[in-house]
């Protein structure tokens, strides 16, 4: 009996201690960071991580939110839709109710179904596919502009400024690239410019000589490419080798210093729609310096969109004095925020009302300047 009582006492003490530590832990608020930490697109996941971690550090340094310290928890979905569902379930399992992510639209899409259902606030800093916010979800936001906005901006530039004789629209048969390419083609067609070619390439392919020969045959002088930098880099490089000189244009997926590395001199003068370079913005000077001090790269396109996503969450939490994500979502939809990417204001769907894109001209040293 005595023995039993002793053990009971020990057990209850243990429970008390656990309860205490749990109470101490409640001072931190976990923010899920879902994106690829492994796999071929892990470098984009890194950008997101750099941004989120920098924001969390800055907020914690300033005393946290409502006395709570933020903590970033990394979930790896490897940009695989199947793993994204598993990650979303795990996030709910872990009781995390605010998520920055996911990165690839194909992962964000199935995961957003789960977050909406379970009332988890999700802000993606990188997924630009329009269909994510078209389902009328309440919990889903972005801090990045839509594909369609980017597409119309590109089409506008082609029609008004570039005015080429024959346009070809090429894409990489992926959600992001094809979506953009389709919107560019349709907008051009509405304004009476018919694309001479509309065609997909295989992502991961290395040989585009057949495609270039075809472009040459069609006498194309302007090529819009919807996709990412590895394929466009090779297309540029092989075009230069084969004496095909057209003006190329791409979306923000090609804005990466690797483009210049792959294409070399051929990358000079390529046009691209990209989010305004937030790292050049004077308001972010201190943040850029802090990231650089850690030995990380602040120039990636998703660094400051991810930073802003955390800021939006933190602002909403401190304003509502609540961590209930439904309340937060209502607040975010109704208010505007001053963030690292400028003023953020949402429409009913959870998209940014102001476009954050600009047309840039890329240079062979990897830098970019606003296009004329």
């Amino acid at each position: 009996m005595n023995q039993f009582r002793k053990s009971l006492l020990g057990l209850s003490t243990a429970v008390c201690i656990m309860g205490l530590t749990a109470a101490a832990q409640a001072e931190t608020l976990k923010i899920g960071l879902a994106g690829p930490a492994t796999g071929p697109v892990a470098q984009y996941g890194d950008m997101q991580k750099i941004g989120v971690m920098a924001a969390i550090e800055d907020i914690n340094k300033a005393g946290g939110v409502n006395g709570m310290m933020l903590e970033g928890v990394i979930y790896d979905d490897a940009c695989d839709p199947k793993q994204a569902v598993a990650v979303a379930n795990k996030i709910i399992n872990d009781g995390v109710t605010q998520v920055v992510g996911h990165l690839c639209s194909s992962s964000t899409e199935p995961a957003s179904d789960i977050y909406e259902e379970e009332g988890v606030l999700m802000i993606t800093a990188a997924s630009t596919s329009p269909s994510i916010t078209e389902k009328g979800y309440k919990m889903i936001f972005r801090t990045i502009g839509l594909d369609s906005l980017q597409g119309s901006m590109a089409a506008d530039y082609i029609l008004k400024t570039a005015k080429p004789a024959r346009v070809a629209v090429i894409h990489d048969k992926q959600q992001y690239g094809e979506g953009l390419a389709t919107s560019v083609r349709d907008q051009l067609a509405e304004n009476g410019v018919k694309a001479a070619m509309f065609e997909g390439v295989t992502p991961g392919d290395k040989d585009f000589s057949a495609l270039i020969a075809k472009l040459k045959k069609e006498n194309v002088d302007f090529v819009y490419y919807g996709g990412y930098h590895p394929e466009l880099g090779l297309i540029l490089r092989q075009s230069a080798e084969k004496g095909f000189n057209a003006q190329f244009m791409g979306p923000e997926g090609v804005v990466n210093s690797d483009l210049a590395k792959i294409a070399g001199d051929a990358s000079e003068g390529v046009l691209a729609t990209a989010p305004k370079s937030f790292d050049q913005n004077p308001i972010n000077e201190a943040r850029v310096a802090a990231i650089k001090a850690k030995g990380e790269d602040p120039t990636g396109p998703f660094v400051f969109t991810a930073y802003a996503a955390v800021e939006v969450m933190a602002n909403a939490i401190s304003a509502t004095k609540s961590t209930d994500s439904v309340e937060l979502a209502d607040y975010i939809r109704a208010h505007d925020f001053d963030t690292a990417i400028g003023k953020v204001k949402y429409d009913e769907k959870g998209d940014l009302t102001e476009s954050t894109f600009l047309v840039y001209r890329l240079h062979k040293d990897g830098s970019k300047t606003p296009a004329e």
Partner: protein
Amino acid sequence: MNSSKLYNAFFAAGISLILACLMIGVKLDTDSTVLTVKGATTEQWMWILTGISVVFLSQLFSTQIDALFGAIPKPNIQKILPEERKMAALKPWLIAAVIVVMLIWPFMVSRGTVDLATLTLIYIMLGLGLNIVVGLAGLLDLGFVAFYAVGAYTYALLSQYFGMSFWACLPISAALAASFGFLLGFPVLRLRGDYLAIVTLGFGEIIRILLNNWTSLTGGPNGISGIAKPTLFGLEFNRKAKEEGASTFHEYFGMDYSSSYKVIFLYLVAVLLVICVIYLINRLMRMPIGRAWEALREDEIACRSLGLNRTIIKLSAFTIGASTAGFAGCFFAARQGFISPESFVFIESAIILAIVVLGGMGSQMGIIFAAIIMTILPELAREFSEYRMLLFGLLMVVMMRWRPQGLIPMKRPNLELKQQ
């Protein structure tokens, strides 16, 4: 310690040095736009040297190490399990116990675990399907994922365009996947061995590329989203019913809404499907056609001499295997709610094949076991997420060396002549 041992050890160490020096010892890096090489850090070189000395020593003392490993007994299922006769009496109880545990278990654990279990059950279904083709009939199929994709897209499309329910689509998915299996099987089954492997591989790729390119029907790379979840006799598991007038599960039973009901229900549906598949395949294996599959694998010419029609036998294996994948695909689409061609790439086929081979070709128990290992291990190894795939590859190689007949080899009565 003779000199040939020493020579071997030096040789192996030298080879490892060559392997490591350029690929690990030097790293390509771009300095603005110029490609440069960077030597590894001292720490990395220390690791390389440690690795090389391990190779050197293990070669030098290979006999002793082999003896040590030989001393570790290989797992012997036969000895653990009770005798055959006792087993027969115990079996129904055992099965009942397993089923009960599988039904009760999800209510006690977290949502993420149940979800993982559901994923495992999908792989079990796929493994069992491929087992018919590869394990029993001995036809090497590297494009099994094609049928999985057909099943998934059948449900997704029928649900999107005609609003059909999961339960109605389940047999349709299986039937359509089976007919794809039939169509593919008809011309290619006269090919032998490795030609069959490459043709099925090509077929898998063709299906994926077609799904990706046929944007008007399949949504191309955008995939299909908002696929309905299965219902329980028309009761939905959502917070609010999607259709007017329909009631949800928790409203009908007057319970509070809990998101885990849906996850648990999905899991239970998966359990049900897996039990059905196991039962059906077990019956089939005991039927003449099942015996014929194995006979054909063992000796094709003998089978033909005995008057068995090899085309029909192969086709039936191919078709039934494909229909199982169709089942799994239909369920996958329902679990996922969103599918795109990205989920049906070659590596998926390779993983399913690895499950079959790891488990032991032909052995259902083994495959279930292997599917559990293959889906849970990567989850456990998330901390080493960078090394996950590396270890996965290594595991496949090591398993083949250590236990090529699989974890739980297929059991069948046999007589062996001992070598003199």
